[in-house]
Amino acid sequence: MLEEYARFTDSGTLRELELIARKLRGVKVLHVNSTKVGGGVAEILHRLVPLMNELGIECHWEVIRGDENFFRVTKKIHNLLHMPDKVSLSYEDILTYMRYTYENLSRVDTDPYDIVFIHDPQPLGLIVKKRPGQRWVWRCHIDVSSPDEETWRFVETFVNGYDAAIFHIPEFVKDGVRVPTFIIPPSIDPLHDKNRELERDFVVSTLERLGIDPGKPIVLQVSRFDRLKDPFGVIEAYRIVKRRMDCQLVLAGSFASDDPEGEEVYREVLKAKGEDPDIHVLNLPPDSHLEINALQRAAAVVVQKSIREGFGLVVSEGMWKGKPVVGSNIGGIRRQIIHGITGYLVNSTEGTAFRVKQLLADGDLRRRLGENARERVRHSFLIIRHLKDYLIVLLTLLEGREKPVDLLHAP
């Protein structure tokens, strides 16, 4: 599998990874998260775990269990770590979290491993199982820089029990994190259906199937129906562009059946679209990877006008397809787009419209920025770079490991 990535990397990279991995032969690694399907974490682990095994590192992946009640609480924790809300974590919520954590302690066998990666807050409490000599790493995929303070205080006790943490960007790190913190941005997989090369015929037929005119320039935003992705701002920007330039806007996303707000936002977006036949609001099933891929390849300009964003890997997905991306000047989007070189960073609806117009008007500019964008992703946001980062973290943590204390035979 590793060799399939050779065409996306610099000639020496795979060899270097193999050499680094040799130093980790015999090391056992476990990843723990809360789901095998859906979401960016599962997507990355599906590829990262077999790649690590191929490099000779024994790597396993376990998923914690819980019922609806547990996941309601962990979703609440997730949201409150992201930003404060009217209601903080309740005593009952904490009890629920601890009860299921306790149950998972006996379900997830962490003892045989040298390094345990815990992804996100759901399995965070498993740290109490850490045995001497092991290294535990909390891989945080969310922005916890300005959380609900009470929720953070609850989580902080666990976090600082780890040997290290990993965040996407330093801006996401809360001041109270006192363990060594690595900064590792997420990545996309060029071999995934979302990103692999597609035949032009497939792209065109997908557009036709979705009722989109393949002959008219497409401005695209891919995101779930969420106010924080500002679909209304995108429509407003499109209307400014449309006064001078003929184009069509595609807002492609999905909402889960159990997300009442998503459905509400979707309806509001449909209302905002009005009778404009050139605005396409597509509510696609969550596994519509090939369709999203086709839309990104067909787009003239990709937009990501989020108000707040985890990392916004969808930006890299667009860039990987050689598209200039006009994105909000925030968080992870700032990290991906180099202003004026791979796309544009914008701070307003008007700014979005201005840059979209500029790009629609100039095919050479689109091509040049798009080529740079693809190169930027190839160098910095593909899964091979992610794998490299993990190997360095493994080596660093194991080098600093003191000998395990043998409690059974201690004098």
């Binding site: 610099d10 000639s11 020496g12 990279t13 060899r15 270097e16 990874l17 050499l19 680094i20 965040f167 330093p170 801006e171 790190v173 994190v177 060594p180 913190t181 690595f182 900064i183 590792i184 180099i338 070189i341 791979t342 740079n372 190169e375 930027r376 160098h379 910095s380 490299k388 980062d389 190997l391 360095i392 973290v393 080596l395 660093t396």
Partner: protein, 203 residues
């Protein structure tokens, strides 16, 4: 005759926990943080963007520009990072620039997050005993290896010459050594640098 061993370097980033939101706190951090942090912002940053014509060559300059210090941004970008032999000299030079002018050290800025590099060097198992073997070896290695031999290793050893040039001089190829040592690594991509070195070796 001595043997040249091609090595490479892989790295990741670690947050120091230090952030600056004024020029004053930036200067303090600049004086106190370790060399691996200075290295990250001045050199590793270059590697991330080496194939693009970016406005500045280091993250310090971007921060200055974003916070209304365009002169500092230019001055920091113009520091001769290849000419400087070791990081202590560069650090001194940066501190001098900051202290020389009458900047407002209390003005509130967007935070700057100091990151340090965590590096791991690997021996690629490729060696050269003469010019032709060296050329072949260079063809086989990637840009991480180039970065290590041309930049990191030179800084680690506080040497005015990069590894390639030092070895070439040792085997009597002083002219080639000098030509390779004078390549401006900051004006082009490392892919082009590799081509340029191969051309020099073939001439």
């Amino acid at each position: 005759m001595s043997e040249f061993r091609f090595r490479s370097e892989l790295w990741t980033a670690q947050y120091t926990g230090v952030k600056a939101n004024t020029l004053g706190s930036f200067l303090k951090a600049l004086k106190e943080l370790d060399d691996d942090t200075i290295y990250y912002h001045l050199y590793r940053n270059m590697f991330e963007y080496h194939f693009f014509p970016t406005d500045y060559w280091n993250s310090f300059s971007y921060w200055f520009a974003e916070n209304g210090f365009p002169v500092l941004a230019e001055k920091f970008s113009a520091i001769d990072l290849i000419g400087c032999v070791c990081l202590a000299d560069i650090r001194e030079e940066m501190v001098r620039i900051l202290e020389r002018e009458g900047y407002s050290f209390d003005k509130l800025c967007k935070p700057f997050y100091f990151i340090r590099t965590v590096r791991k060097v690997v021996d690629l198992g490729i060696t050269a005993r003469n010019l032709s073997e060296f050329r072949e070896g260079l063809r086989r290695v990637g840009i991480h290896s180039l970065f290590y031999h041309l930049i990191t290793s030179r800084l680690v050893h506080c040497s005015p010459m990069n590894d390639f040039s030092r070895w070439l001089a040792e085997i009597g190829e002083e002219k080639k050594a000098e030509e390779i040592n004078s390549i401006d690594l900051f004006s082009t991509s490392l892919y082009r640098v590799k081509e340029e070195i191969l051309k020099i070796l073939e001439s």
